[in-house]
Amino acid sequence: MNSAKQETEGEDRVNSAKLDAEEEESVNSAKLDAEEEESMNDALNENTWHLHLDGLSVGYNGHPVIRDIHLGIHRGEIVTLIGPNGAGKSTILKSITRQLSLISGTVIFDQKTLSSYSYKDLSSKMAVVLTDRLHPELMTCHDVVATGRYPYTGRLGRLTKEDEQKVEDAMKAVQAQEIGSRDFNAISDGQKQRVLLARAICQDPDIIILDEPTSFLDIKHKLKLLSILRTMAKQKNITVVMSLHEIDLAMKISDRILCVHGDKIFKSGPPEDIFKGDTIQRLYDIDNGSFDPLFGSVELPGIKGRPEVLVLSSSGTGIPVYRKLQRQKRPFVAGILYTNDVDYRIARQLASEVIEEKPFHEISDRAMQQALDAVQTCTQIIDAGVEIGPCNQRMQEILKAAHESGKCVLA
């Protein structure tokens, strides 16, 4: 937290809104810190990690892909692995599910080393949703979900009434009742993912491991899946460990995020620590575009060069114009934007120049001059709509100059 504050103080354009946000964040973090400390004490006393990866090296055929993983996960926590393709997220998950043997280190699950569990014992505690393609023969979706009850059925695998009810409930939870009687091989990839999630849910696990569970889902079902996971974690105290490609979703759902990159855990911590500064940009080696850690959105790289268009806007009216100019590869200057304006955040990434002003201040002479210069030099001016209030009266002058220049069009 200290370093975060220093960073804020170091910035010369501190604004109250940002401070507010920071303060709120710091309160939250302080709470988290306290919780963390408490749990640390617990950990020292009776070792309450639900899943503990201790000096783990994982990989294939004795060759480590990722070394030295240390991680303690509490019951009911949602931990998400993010990182570029091929970083080894699946390798870590496969090692936790015992599909891969560990190269070194130990996994302690519920106070016992993972290898001391029989497969049978583990099956009633750990459920998985894998990326493996499933081609069951002549099985309906309902049949596939019902295999989740396998650890609880007798020798012939017959389902009791109670089992049936759990299967039904799980199908309802993922909104898959209506495809229950369809052949599993005949449904879409997204539907398959939902059916496999239902399967994992009715397995009644203490921990659920999911490898890219959202990859084929549409936006509605992505949100649905994540809210199901959140409910499971917070109400039933089920631990969730998963890998996600959607970093924006990871930011919103996870209690903790693990960045996997190179041959190690590049960084780990609560989302507010990960989505700060250029961590994400470095994690994914993004040199071709940018990531806004506050909004969790990605942008293609901005157009560099001498601006030929001036965009006048406020409160979000400029964003569609910026995007359009970027598609047309025309360098532009955006102004005059208060630094707490949504337009400002996007303009910083897309515009070749931004004329900015501190929030709630009257427009300074410096900004005025820059804007009037831009009116002169640009070949086109786009008026996307500017809200004028007591603070930014001077924008009227700019607009007037723009319209008089004859280069101005309305967006």
């Binding site: 099956s123 493996d132 002549l138 099985m139 309906t140 020798r155 695998g157 039904e168 229950g180």
Partner: protein, 365 residues
């Protein structure tokens, strides 16, 4: 607003009820389907058995057959023909046919591929190779070979091929690649056998030729007891493994997460399937297509691959199929008897072709 809510709740409850009833209807439909298939198989079994006993060079009326079978009364000729020739042969065809079909089902589960079967995987060829080696070595020195030695040799050969497949499977994880490896093993064994046969004296390999044609003729009650005993034990073990087999149908990774010790299970599965097919090959020689065609037809008929139902049905189906094929082999060009594989191939191969087309269609839909 509250009215609307209740209405919405009602519709939700309605749909819940609908899905529940439709699900129960589904279960009922399934059970009826299973019952129907088993009834048809049982009727076919009885029918083929009776026709089989009733058919042959010597005509014996049904009344005399029933008397001979159930009351053990009749002329010495009737008794001999029925008890010493026809009954053991029919029983053996049933038992071995069932074993072949079941072995095919297990191998298809193991390889996650519907084309896998004991004949395709070189298990039969391995048996033939060792039988050839033993015959040529033993007959040349001792002058004769007992049928027991042949059976043991076939058994050893089958297990040799299986062992090799298991060995390869430790490094090759891809099931299609493993299947190809199995097919190649079959070719190697056949090549070695041909090499031996080329340089052997005709008299040494006369028996080999007879045996390798595959036939249910000349079965004795001893054969029935021994073969039946081994197969009975294997079938019971397979049935006890029905649940993990079902889990394995979802793939190795999911099976493991469901509590199956995959490594042990794989070994158990392939050992059981090769014991089944080795027993068949040892007694009746290599028989093709039963292991692929019958499980496929049974699964389509039952409309499920669930092992609890498929295991008994596949066994029964294999029994009926082999008895029928044996009947045709005996009758079609009587008094000349056909190779059993000739008949099974004529009826089995089209099923495989149909299966490939069907799968393609399934993919498109």
């Amino acid at each position: 607003m509250p009215e609307q809510e209740t209405r919405e709740n009602n519709t939700i409850q309605q749909t819940v009820k609908n899905t529940e009833t439709s699900y129960h209807a589904e279960i009922l439909k399934r059970r009826m389907r299973y019952t129907l298939v088993f009834v048809i198989l049982a009727v076919a079994f009885l029918l083929v058995t009776v026709i089989n006993i009733n058919t042959g060079n010597v005509d014996i009326s049904v009344g005399r057959i029933l008397r001979a079978v159930f009351l053990r009364k009749g002329t010495t000729d009737d008794m001999n023909i029925i008890w010493k020739i026809r009954l053991p042969r029919i029983l053996m065809a049933a038992i071995l046919g069932g074993a072949l079909s079941l072995s095919g089902f297990l191998l298809q589960t193991f390889f996650e591929n519907p084309i896998a079967g004991p004949f395709v995987l070189g298990i039969s060829s391995g048996a033939k190779m060792i039988v050839a080696v033993v015959m040529i070595l033993v007959v040349a020195r001792v002058g004769a070979i007992s049928s027991w030695a042949m059976i043991l040799a076939a058994f050893a050969g089958s297990l040799l091929s299986t062992g090799f497949i298991l060995l390869v499977s430790r490094t090759v994880r891809n099931m299609s690649a493993l299947l190809v490896a199995g097919i190649m093993i079959g070719y190697i064994c056949t090549a070695v056998t041909n090499l031996l046969v080329t340089f052997a004296a005709d008299s040494d390999i006369a028996n080999l030729h007879n045996w390798s044609q595959g036939s249910f003729s000349g079965m004795t009650w001893d054969n029935v007891y021994v073969g039946g005993g081994i197969i009975a034990v294997a079938v019971v073990l397979v049935f006890l493994m029905a649940k993990p087999i079902g889990a394995f149908q979802l793939g190795e990774a999911y099976a493991q997460s469901m509590g199956v010790n995959v490594k042990q299970f794989r070994i158990a599965l392939i050992l059981l399937s090769s014991i089944l097919s080795a027993t068949v090959t040892a007694f009746a020689g290599p028989i093709s297509f039963v292991g692929i065609a019958v499980p496929f037809l049974i699964k389509r008929a039952l409309h499920t691959a669930s092992p609890v139902v498929v295991i008994p049905a596949a066994f029964l189906g294999g029994a009926v199929f082999c008895m029928a094929c044996d009947l045709i082999a005996r009758v079609a060009f009587a008094p000349t008897e056909l190779e059993i594989s000739t008949v099974t191939a004529i009826f089995g191969a089209p099923v495989v072709i149909f299966m490939l087309i069907w799968r393609q269609k399934g993919k498109r839909a």
